[in-house]
């Protein structure tokens, strides 16, 4: 097999070996107790994100709970509403279950989008160097200079926010973080002998970049994608809390905004705790797993463990 063209067999083989490596890494990460707990939270959250809306006993927005002919306002937990009701007579448990999905979409797609875009920019910039690098890095400097949350607020104030739009805005502002780190990693990898011999054997730029350089920086790429998922959830929840979330869906950030705006936060702890604990637990879970992963990826921390 010549191996000079990007044929499917090579790609499949590479993919299989990469997946095997990912599996081993994951097992290694999960030896850390905190990471184990974090991983469990993430799995539970993923489950809620997919199935939550079907588990909800009532419709989170349309169903108004009635009791004896009057609306159940700010009912504490028990009876018909297991986690109590909001001041508009909606079921908190249903809102909590349904609210996981928008949070998951923004976090997952915002994070993965940020990771992929940042990875590609960093790879291109570091691999080619020179003018390409100069241009892309000035672009990242510029996005660093534009304050993220204020700009996002301004943009979302004149377009109707939707979950997908918010995700796009996050990617546009967050890609710079992985891009810089990937770039500096790529710059050290591309000087190594195996990259040069690949080039000498006649491998094209695309092939060298994706088959020889990229696998060596994939670890860092995944690490920053994981962190980007965390940042996206935080940013999405912050926007929703400030009143710039998707008005048609119930997200955890929006639940907090409603309980805060309505002033019910003074008494209705049952309305505050589910979304607050939910957001806190998910982001913490992501960061705990990310941190345990970082201990493996960052070679400087691999010194004597005695």
């Amino acid at each position: 097999m010549s191996g000079y063209s990007f044929d499917t067999d090579t790609a499949k083989e590479r993919l299989r070996s990469e997946l095997g490596r990912a599996g081993r890494t994951l097992r290694f990460v999960l030896q850390d107790n905190a990471a184990k707990a974090g991983f469990a939270v993430i799995v539970a959250f993923g489950f809620l994100g997919v199935f939550g809306p079907y588990l909800a006993p009532y419709h989170p927005i349309e169903d108004t709970l009635q009791q004896g002919g009057s609306m159940m306002r700010l009912q504490s937990p028990g009876g018909k509403a297991l986690l109590g009701t909001t001041s508009f007579g909606k079921d908190v448990l249903s809102q909590f279950l349904a609210g996981a999905r928008p949070t998951l979409i923004v976090g997952l797609f915002g994070g993965v989008g940020t990771g992929v875009l940042g990875f590609l920019v960093g790879l291109t910039s570091g691999y080619f160097g020179g003018r390409v690098d100069e241009f892309l890095m000035r672009l990242t400097d510029l996005t660093f200079a534009l304050p993220f949350l204020p700009m996002a607020l301004v943009i979302l104030s004149f377009v109707t926010p939707s979950v997908w739009l918010i995700t796009a805005v996050l990617v546009v502002f967050l890609w710079k973080m992985p891009a810089r780190v990937i770039r500096s990693e790529v710059m050290t990898v591309k000087e190594r002998t195996f990259v040069k011999s690949a080039r000498a054997r006649g491998a094209g730029h695309t092939r060298t970049m994706f088959l020889h350089v990229a696998p060596n920086v994939l670890g860092i790429g995944f690490l920053y994608t994981a962190y980007a998922v965390g940042w996206s959830i935080v940013a999405g929840a912050s926007l929703a809390f400030l009143g710039f979330g998707d008005p048609t869906t119930t997200s955890w950030g929006r639940m907090l905004q409603q309980v805060f705006r309505s002033g019910a936060i003074r008494t209705a702890w049952w309305w505050v705790l589910p979304p607050a604990v939910g957001i806190g637990a998910v982001t913490t879970g992501v960061f705990l797993v990310g941190r345990a992963f970082e201990e493996i990826v960052n070679p400087d921390l691999q010194t004597d463990k005695e």
Partner: protein
């Protein structure tokens, strides 16, 4: 030079973004019937909104760099009068919090890194990761419902009691009433930023732990703590630059926190201005936030060049 150019491009983008807004607040007034179209024309001319776009642009750039932010559209007073006190309020809250958390968390992080694998290291990392990962407004909400609404120990709203009417900075910031309002947002900020400093300090001590200069110190017979002191001093570089970067990002980082505690700072002013479509105030607030990032990034680079003998100042 690059910083100046970046600032210029950044403010141009901010200008362009704000001009994309479809309506100005006056059209809404016509729609609601409180002003006639003729009156609106007059007001628009007064604010210079009828000039060609490039005239508006140059006036905007010129005004920004002389810190003349124009007149607020909704409050009929100079934007500076709204923004500057808000900026001071934010700084009074954030700078002490950042300094406190930088010192305490860095020291704790160095100790954790030195005793790698210890109970202290494991638990301090998990605890600070929890606060670092949880959005700052969620931490704020927890503090609120526990200490203000649950236990009733501390006030929940604003910077001073509604009856207090202090004059001047000293009277405003030095009082028991202010302190009571200060504790909760201060605590939330300290907790939120503790994680990054702790991890940075810990990682950089871990990286140095096996190095030769420390073996020399051990051979000289220095105690564990004295050795940690030497390792810690060598770990200061990333901490100092990180501190500068964090300071630049502060204003945008705590917008939600200011809203939760109704702290009359620049972040809350920005959110209100956006909701009221008060563009001059929005422009000024976003500009100050962008400027803070750019200036502090430059400071971080300079500090790096100054502190690290292997980097020349000319490299920046």
């Amino acid at each position: 030079m690059i910083a100046a150019l970046l600032t210029l491009i950044a403010v141009s983008i901010i200008f362009a973004t704000l001009r994309l807004l479809p309506a100005d607040p006056f059209s809404a007034l016509v729609a609601s019937g409180s002003l006639t179209p003729a009156e609106v024309e007059q007001i628009r001319a007064m604010y210079g909104l009828d000039d060609p776009i490039y005239v508006q642009y140059f006036r905007y750039i010129q005004n920004l760099f002389t810190f003349e932010f124009g007149i607020s559209l909704t409050q009929q007073r100079p934007v500076g009068e709204i923004i500057i006190p808000a900026l001071v309020n934010t700084l009074v809250l954030l700078l002490p919090a950042l300094v406190v958390t930088a010192i305490i968390s860095s020291l704790a992080g160095m100790y954790a890194g030195w005793n790698r694998g210890s109970w202290f290291e494991q638990s301090s990392i998990v605890v600070t990761t929890v606060f670092r990962a949880t959005p700052i407004f969620v931490t704020g909400i927890f503090l609120l419902i526990i200490f203000s609404y649950g236990l009733g120990w501390l006030p929940a709203f604003g910077m001073r009691s509604s009856l207090a009417n202090p004059q001047g900075y000293v009277e405003t910031y030095v009082s028991v009433d202010f302190l009571k309002h200060y504790i909760l947002p201060f605590t939330a900020t300290v907790l939120f930023y503790s994680g990054d400093f702790l991890m940075l300090a810990r990682n950089s001590v871990v990286e140095r732990k096996g190095s030769e200069f420390l073996m020399l110190h051990r051979a000289k017979g220095l105690s564990e703590m004295e050795q940690l002191g030497r390792a810690g001093r060598n770990s200061l570089l990333p901490l100092v630059t990180y501190f500068a970067l964090r300071t630049g990002m502060l204003f945008q980082g705590v917008i939600t926190l200011e809203v939760v505690f109704a702290w009359p700072g620049i972040g809350r002013a920005l959110v209100q201005a956006i909701l009221n479509q008060d563009y001059p105030t929005v422009q000024a607030a976003v500009f100050i936030m962008a400027l803070a990032v750019i200036v502090m990034n430059l400071t971080a680079d300079l500090a790096y060049a100054k502190l690290d003998p292997t980097v020349e100042a000319g490299d920046v």
